[in-house]
């Protein structure tokens, strides 16, 4: 994978993570799997780049982390969305919708 692609996706990755956590706490691998399954394909990025993004979200206070035990009885670091994180996700979503709508409008424009 090209480095530029990672950079490009860095901001988007944050929103994807917040979205992944919006239905409840998940560990890093769980987030990766959820995005994979939802997108219907392998992630077009290195899975590892999820982690710096996660830690950065934590530094911004959008998620918190705690060590828990997984269903397979393994110690895993689980992330939970904070109130700020939820608000952030909502803001990002409406921004994305406004953005994609206007792009869609432009792209689907007919010849006048």
């Amino acid at each position: 994978m090209e480095r530029t692609t990672i950079d490009l996706l860095q901001g988007t990755l944050g929103v994807l993570i917040l979205k992944a956590l919006s239905w409840g706490p998940k560990h890093g691998y769980g987030i990766a799997r959820w995005i994979e399954e939802t997108a219907g394909d392998e992630l077009p990025i290195e899975e590892g780049s999820l982690y710096p993004a996660l830690h950065r979200l934590q530094a911004r206070g959008l998620v918190t982390s705690a060590w828990t035990t997984s269903e397979t009885n393994r110690r895993v670091k689980t992330y939970t969305l904070t109130e700020e994180g939820r608000a952030q996700l909502k803001a990002e979503l409406s921004r994305w919708q406004a953005f994609s709508q206007s792009i869609t409008r432009v792209l689907s424009a007919r010849r006048p």
């Binding site: 691998y29 899975e47 393994r74 895993v76």
Partner: protein
């Protein structure tokens, strides 16, 4: 809360484990999909990316979180701890009040007294580089081989000014002893100072207004100019800045005011005149009474200046052909200014140190006692998960709150009490720089208090670590403090009582000495006389010889005046005129001469011991008839009667003794009587007189009548200081009085602090033993017996402290031996009285809180512990 799990050492392990768990789970899922294990691992790694790079990125982010978190949590914890400390102290109100009072007295008292000591000792010369200021004197060997010090001549000063390698300034000045008459806003007789032009520059001072003197002002025939001292300018001219250029008549010569001096510079010298010296007058030779100050160049030592100046002066003396100087004395003004007080200030500093120590001991004792009762609370908090570090920090915060509260109260007290101290201080403080509250000293005592608070506040937290938690918890209900802290508390009581006793012993000796001083018979009863100083402005001697007897005569006719007279040197005033006299066939000796107006002996209450008073005619005879005092009679004529004998005065002929009068302690109660010769007024050269009145009744409006009589009878006079004989006596005993007052204050402060200490410790004993008392009461113990037991627990260490204190006082009081009048530094009666006082105080301080034990209700006391 989640952030709290971050510890710097865990960050790397955390990240590693997190990433590893991802790889593992991916690998497992791949294997579940049917991919062989080894291939699965490879695929997982490939899909993940560079583990090392990603791990480093995560660690860096986490470390940032950690640092930020640590900062904010520190502040939050501190705020929390302080708030908790305030709450805890608010609940333990008795403890807090006692501790804050202790700290306030200790910090405030010591800071105020230290500020005074600093003013007296550490900055007596408020000029730049005061250590460079010196006085120079010429040494001359007399024929008997004794080295005498002479005032340098004006020529010396001129020559020395050329030695730029030694001195940056050399100045000559003298006090104008004969009061000068100033026809200013009011007619006054004032003292002044004559200074040469560089006097201000040498001190590094410039005038507040106008200019200082210049070289031209010193010339003979120059237009007379003066500078005003700050206090005079303030009092007489209401700080009028337009005073420059105005003229004042001084001794009937108009002089122009050219400058006003700043308040920080010799403010009490009203009039400053140029030091004019006519050429070839007695003043131009050595030994004329002028003073020479110089400022050493930087780097020049006193010894070097003295050696080099001596060589050069001797060489130039030989060259000019005057009697050569045998040496030069250069003395540091700074050393001299501090020398006289060092003894007193050292003693006061030691006393203040003792106060500070008592205050610290008090705080230590209180915290120790309180700590003992808090072990249960701390044990519970520790078992609930509070780390030891957290507990320590909590206790530190509590001590800090306490120390700060005490510090604020202390600063306020220091501020308030400084004025009080200054008015009662035994040192003649430098007029130039009144003591100001020293912030550094306040800071120092505050730090000491905080350090004490922290050290002893920590004791319970530290001792907690030595006890296993379950044990502490099991004994949580038990109020018996550890024997260690009880012993510690008793030791502290003993120590502070001992210190307090030493202070009080010193104070007691000073009081005793002062009482003895005040009960000395000075020869007359100061309470029964009234005096008035009458100073002629410009009258000649013949006018005055008419005026004073007429004035006294007119005063005698006033209603309310039983007797009146006058004398030139008022007893207790201190000043004396000496004359050389000898009886036939005896050696020359010094007699103190007094000139009086008849009626003086009756007025002041001196009685004839022998002989009679001479008649006016006898007093002016060729061989005048005179009166001497008993001391003079004894010194001149021994045991035989002096009446009818004669003696010779140097160059004044023979005198005939007709009466011997009682002795007066002219220089104050501690000085033996001088041998005195009473001459009629006009015989020698007295001009100003002190009129002495013996009122027959109340002195209500006598003051006004006296003044009016003096001003209306004859020539122009200045009337000042109408006062009682006791006022004169007070002047004489001012220093011992102030010294006594100050040490007594310190002693009282020590006693109060010690009582507070004993009170606090006993109160905690009661709190600690409530359960035990309850049990005993339930078993039928009498309340009185219980109270006695508790008092005894505090009183025993106090008694040990008293014993130790007496031992310490026996040594310590030696240092005040030189201040004591007819009092030995070890006086059993005083020591015993002080010991009894301290014991009683300790008993009261212990009994007050102990009473509460008697009111313990056995049932509720037992219920508390279930």
């Amino acid at each position: 809360m989640a952030f709290r799990q971050f510890f710097r050492s865990d960050i790397a392990a955390d990240v590693d484990e997190e990433l590893a768990s991802h790889l593992e789970m991916r690998e497992r899922d791949l294997v579940a999909e049917g991919i062989p294990a080894e291939q699965a691992r490879e695929i997982a790694r490939k899909r993940f990316g560079n583990v090392a790079v990603i791990g480093r990125a995560c660690r860096e982010i986490d470390e940032g979180i950690y640092r930020r978190e640590k900062r904010t949590s520190m502040w939050r914890d501190l705020r929390q701890d302080l708030a908790y400390g305030v709450r805890v102290l608010g609940r333990a109100r008795g403890f807090t009040v006692v501790a804050v009072i202790t700290l306030a007295l200790g910090i405030g008292g010591s800071a105020a007294i230290f500020s005074v000591i600093e003013a007296a000792l550490l900055r007596p010369l408020p000029y730049p580089n005061p250590e460079q200021l010196v006085e120079i004197m010429v040494e001359s060997k007399s024929r008997s081989g004794r080295m005498a010090r002479l005032a340098p001549s004006v020529d010396d000063v001129r020559a020395w000014r050329e030695h730029r390698d030694l001195f940056s300034h050399v100045t000559i000045w003298r006090t104008i002893f004969d009061p000068i008459v100033v026809d200013g806003p009011e007619l006054e007789r004032l003292r002044g100072r004559q200074v040469s032009e560089d006097y201000l520059a040498l001190h590094g001072v410039s005038p507040l207004f106008g200019r200082g003197f210049i070289e031209e002002d010193m010339r003979e025939g120059a237009e007379p100019v003066i500078m005003l001292g700050y206090a005079y300018w303030q009092d007489r001219f209401g700080r009028d800045p337009n005073v420059i250029g105005r003229t004042l008549r001084i001794d009937n010569v108009p002089a122009m005011i050219v400058g006003v001096l700043p308040p920080s510079f010799s403010r009490d010298v009203p009039i400053w005149r140029p030091h004019k010296v006519p050429p070839r007058t007695p003043q131009s030779v050595r030994g004329s009474g002028a003073t020479v100050y110089a400022r050493l160049q930087p780097g020049v030592t006193l010894a070097n200046a003295q050696r080099i100046l001596a060589e050069r002066t001797r060489a130039s003396d030989l060259a000019t052909g005057i009697h050569p100087a045998d040496g030069i004395a250069v003395e540091s003004l700074y050393e001299r200014a501090t020398f006289g007080y060092r003894n007193t200030t050292d003693i006061l500093a030691a006393a203040v140190g003792a106060i500070l120590l008592i205050a610290c001991i008090n705080v230590a004792g209180l915290l120790l006692a309180r700590g003992a009762t808090r072990r249960a609370e701390l044990g519970i908090r520790a078992s609930l998960g509070a780390g030891r570090l957290r507990l320590v920090r909590q206790l530190l915060a509590e001590s800090l709150v306490l120390a700060l509260a005490g510090g604020v109260a202390g600063a306020l007290l220091a501020w308030v009490s400084l004025d009080l101290l200054v008015a009662n201080i035994p040192l003649s403080l430098p007029e130039n720089s009144p003591p100001a509250l020293n912030v550094r000293v306040l800071g120092f005592t505050l730090m000491l208090a905080i350090a004490t608070g922290l050290a002893f506040g920590l004791a319970p937290a530290l001792s907690l670590s030595r006890v296993d938690l379950s044990g502490t918890l099991a004994r949580a209900n038990q109020r018996f403090g550890s024997s260690l802290s009880r012993r510690g508390g008793q030791l502290l009581i003993a120590a502070e009582v001992a210190l307090c006793l030493v202070l009080l012993a010193g104070a007691g000796l000073m009081i005793r000495s002062f009482t003895r001083m005040m009960s000395v018979d000075v020869g007359f009863d100061p309470d029964s006389i009234l005096t008035m100083e009458v100073i002629p402005v410009d009258a000649s001697a013949p006018v005055l010889t008419q005026y004073y007897p007429a004035l006294v005569e007119s005063l005698r006719t006033l209603p309310g005046v039983a007797a009146a007279g006058a004398i030139n040197n008022m007893p207790l005033q201190g000043g004396s005129t000496l004359t050389a006299a000898r009886a036939d066939g005896a050696d020359w000796m010094s007699l103190h001469t007094r000139e009086f107006i008849p009626g003086y002996f009756e007025a002041i209450g001196l009685r004839l011991v022998d002989g009679r008073l001479p008649s006016p005619a006898e007093m002016t005879a060729a061989m005048p008839a005179v009166i001497i005092n008993a001391e003079a009679a004894r010194q001149m004529f021994g045991e035989q009667s002096a009446v009818g004998r004669r003696f010779e005065r140097n160059r004044k002929g023979f005198f005939h003794v007709v009466g011997v009068i009682g002795d007066v302690r002219h220089s104050g109660p501690t000085r033996p009587p001088d041998p005195e010769l009473y001459l009629p007024f006009g015989r020698d050269d007295a001009d100003a007189m002190v009129v002495v009145i013996r009122p027959s009744g109340t002195t209500g409006n006598l003051h006004w009548q006296l003044r009016r009589a003096a001003e209306s009878v004859g020539p122009r006079v200045v009337v000042q200081r109408i006062r009682t004989g006791s006022d004169w006596l007070d002047d004489r005993v001012l220093t011992p009085r102030r010294r006594t007052v100050l040490l007594t204050l310190l002693g009282a402060l020590g006693l109060v602090l010690s009582m507070v200490g004993v009170f606090g410790m006993t109160a905690y004993t009661v709190a600690r033993r409530t359960q035990e008392v309850g049990v005993r009461m339930a078993l039928g113990a009498r309340a009185g017996q219980v109270v006695r037991d508790i008092v005894r627990e505090s009183l025993w260490p106090a008694l040990w402290g008293i014993a130790a204190g007496i031992g310490g006082a026996a040594f310590a009081t030696q240092v005040i031996a030189s201040f004591l009048f007819e009092t030995r530094p070890i006086e059993p009666v005083t020591f015993a009285m002080v010991a009894v006082l301290v014991a009683l105080a300790a008993a009261v301080a212990a009994w007050l809180p102990a009473r509460r034990a008697a009111r313990v209700d056995p049932v509720s006391a037992l219920r508390v512990t279930t």
